[in-house]
Symmetry: C3
Subunit: 341 residues, 3 copies
């Protein structure tokens, strides 16, 4: 991480109630108790790893107040109410240095149309393109090499990382965070087979991204055939996810990496999709439903359902069948034996 | 969509034979009968949704000539021969405003080698790179931040969206359309295991893309080990698709999102691959064959075949087995009962 | 390939011991015996394809010394000790022309922070961004439109193709090769569900890429929650692969296209993952273990294991069960017959 904090700085940051051992070292990275090397800060987040503390090579360890033990020479123990909370505080501090607040303004290498409206507090980094009619809200950051198409609108406090494309007329809410390479508003995949050729069906809708949505690297979200492809407030999408045209995703959903959702499918709120799962088109997943990793689902499921497998079936049944499948060789033998009786 | 048309403009555009109701409103978006809100244009594309017309909140509705009913106050009915055709006409008009014809010329921020040949009618947008020996054909558009490598050739009337990479010596035909982030001509994935290490096998072939091919966002097509990776005329490829080296894809195929095709596999014409399906290497898929979504195919299939599942087997058999698998718990019980007799 | 070599150049390059036929033609491409067209160079790499030589339309064919036969009119045979080695020599020559050594220096359109350290022998191509504190090692090439974040470090002799993003503080070793669109150091996907919303867990670790690693187009590697996401020396990663936070990949592994690895999973050395396979989180794959294409693995496997299917089980068992599953319709009938007895 190439950070550098003194023990005293860490102690102050976490509000250490007691410090035991060598408090003169410096901290340049974080690591688990096992993986830690000299220079690392570690922590005992779960009492069942207590035995790993004394063997850890960490320079400093965050420990609960009731931990009994002495640091090795050159090592320091920092006693705090809640080591996990203390670690989170250190992480938050490091995060600020990873993503420092960038000064408002437009980098001279950016190509911003005179007809674009960039808020005075926004940051448009090097080599970005902002087209005619596009709007960038207060405090939003386009890190570098971001493309914002005609009449697209980006809300306030957004962070758009390098290489993202927000195509014409698409809308982002407040505090949206796009990892590098995200594509918002590519054409939906719609064709009609006419006279032996696939003729493109115009895709003239948009994509609307709600507040506090986060989208992972190189994920793609297609614009609607008409009307809107929607991602609801607070939903989090991992890397390399594909969202087809006219998909409507509710609020506070979780889509793990490499998920694919076919056209016009609806996710209600709080849906969770495991990695690499795939959904057919024109189906609805009820509130709080869950799809296992790698599952393939072609039919609607009710609120609260949990399905797995391909084709996806209720989770417990799928687990049971997976076990029975491994006993198929035995079953065939048993049937053969019965036939010989 | 942030468009705005008067009712009169819509009526003229679709050639309405009769207009009933409030013809003074304006249209700012399109939506289905159910989803429509005031300001939207909707349509009755299929007679079985007739009952939804009277409940629709759309400001204007395209209806067949024989529809009987009266618009609500403030609403307008536009009667046309074929509402679907009428809607398509509106979409085509909106599409022109989404993707207006860009003026010919090279944006001053683009980096175009003096040894590149850009047709005078082509548009090279901001921050594009066009290397030595590359050619851009008449009427083609590089929207922004597109990379065209040495000696690559782009035909006439192509549309290349932001962030695409067309690597050295690759060839695109006429009217090719690449969504944002497409990579054409990355190295094939070929290694030889020598003395405990994977040594790279040079990948010195190219990629050749036929006329009227369209490729979805962030899809990747590797250059051949030698000779050509080929995508035939009229084939449509969705987002996040992977095409390995020396794959040969025929004409008018459909590859849905997240498909992966291993090296040296051949697709004949009119093949359809469902989303997330994967093909092994060195196999051939016969003309018009079809692979279900999520299927995994490791062997060649004849013309017209339709396979599903992983490993992929004929579709009807796979469907039958999927049903029987769910009855496995019962089957085990029945065998147990027989054994007890 | 748009190369052009005379027969004499090829003969000299491969050290032909004998040349028979028309040695005045020129070679513009490579192809297999079957696919070759006039102008192509082909080769007999495997004796069992001997019968295809006489029917080949190649202009020149590399043949083993003991091959008996005469070239067609206008065709030339080049006899060499080992045709495969000879072809590799031709490929290596073409490769040099595909990827010529670029002159050191920083393109005037690149945006390089005064606080970055770019070695004098490195090449920073057009429209790259290199932020404060970043380092680019000797002989490394950023081809074009590459983003290198604050304090990121790129070793010596690396080749970074267009559109790659190396985020802040990430580290690349020597001779690393990134195909276009690779993202190194996107945020890990970590949230805590608090009061009905997913709160982001800060992702403050980095990504460390070992020497001689190669990564395919549009693949994504997330930074660690804290500490490091690691890819070991010599490992090769194909296109559209997803590596989650805190994954540790050993040396000389092979990850085929569209693989996904969940957080904190460990691959020991020489592991091979088939295309589209998916790994759950917090598991370990032993040295030299192998996962079949499309497989889904949620549990650790020992060194040397080979698993397949979803859920993944030992390969031989999975193959046997796949066969038995196709006999399920028959099995149900047999059990029915037994019940009727």
């Amino acid at each position: 991480m190439q950070v550098a904090y003194t023990i005293a700085e860490i102690a102050a940051l976490v509000g250490a109630q007691r410090v035991t051992g060598a408090d003169t070292g410096s901290i340049t990275d974080l690591a688990s108790l096992e993986a830690a090397r000299p220079g690392d800060l570690s922590f005992l987040g779960n009492a069942r790893y207590k035995a790993k503390v004394s063997a850890s090579a960490a320079t400093a360890i965050l420990l609960p107040l009731d931990y009994a033990g002495e640091p090795a020479p050159g090592q320091v123990y920092l006693f705090v109410e809640n080591p996990s909370v203390a670690l989170a505080r250190v992480c938050a501090r490091i995060e600020q240095s990873l993503w420092p607040k960038l000064a408002p303004g437009i980098h001279p290498s950016a190509v911003v149309s005179p007809g674009a409206r960039v808020d005075a507090t926004a940051h448009v980094g090097p080599l970005c393109v902002v087209e005619e009619g596009a709007q960038i809200g207060a405090g939003s950051v386009l890190q570098a090499s971001v493309f914002v198409g005609r009449d697209a609108r980006i809300g306030e406090g957004c962070l758009i990382m390098p290489g993202c494309v927000i195509a014409t007329m698409c809308l982002l809410g407040q505090r949206v965070r796009l990892q590098p390479g995200v594509v918002i508003g590519s054409d939906g995949f719609g064709y009609e087979f006419v006279a032996g050729r696939h003729e493109r069906v115009p895709q003239v809708g948009t994509v609307v991204i709600g507040d506090d949505v986060e989208i992972g690297a190189n994920s793609t979200l297609d614009r609607a055939r008409f009307s809107r492809t929607v991602v609801g407030e607070g939903t989090k999408i991992d890397n390399l996810v594909q969202i087809a045209h006219n998909v409507v995703i509710g609020r506070h959903c979780i889509l793990c990496a490499q998920v694919g959702i076919s056209g016009s499918t609806t996710l209600e709120d709080f849906v969770i999709l495991g990695g690499q799962s795939g959904l057919g088109g024109h189906i609805t997943l009820g509130k709080g439903s869950k799809v296992g990793g790698g599952a393939g689902l072609a039919a609607s499921i009710p609120a609260g359902a949990y399905v797995n497998g391909n084709p996806a079936i209720p989770y417990m049944l799928e687990r049971r069948i997976a076990v029975l499948q491994q006993r198929l060789p035995d079953l065939f033998k048993r049937v053969e034996a019965l036939e010989k009786k």
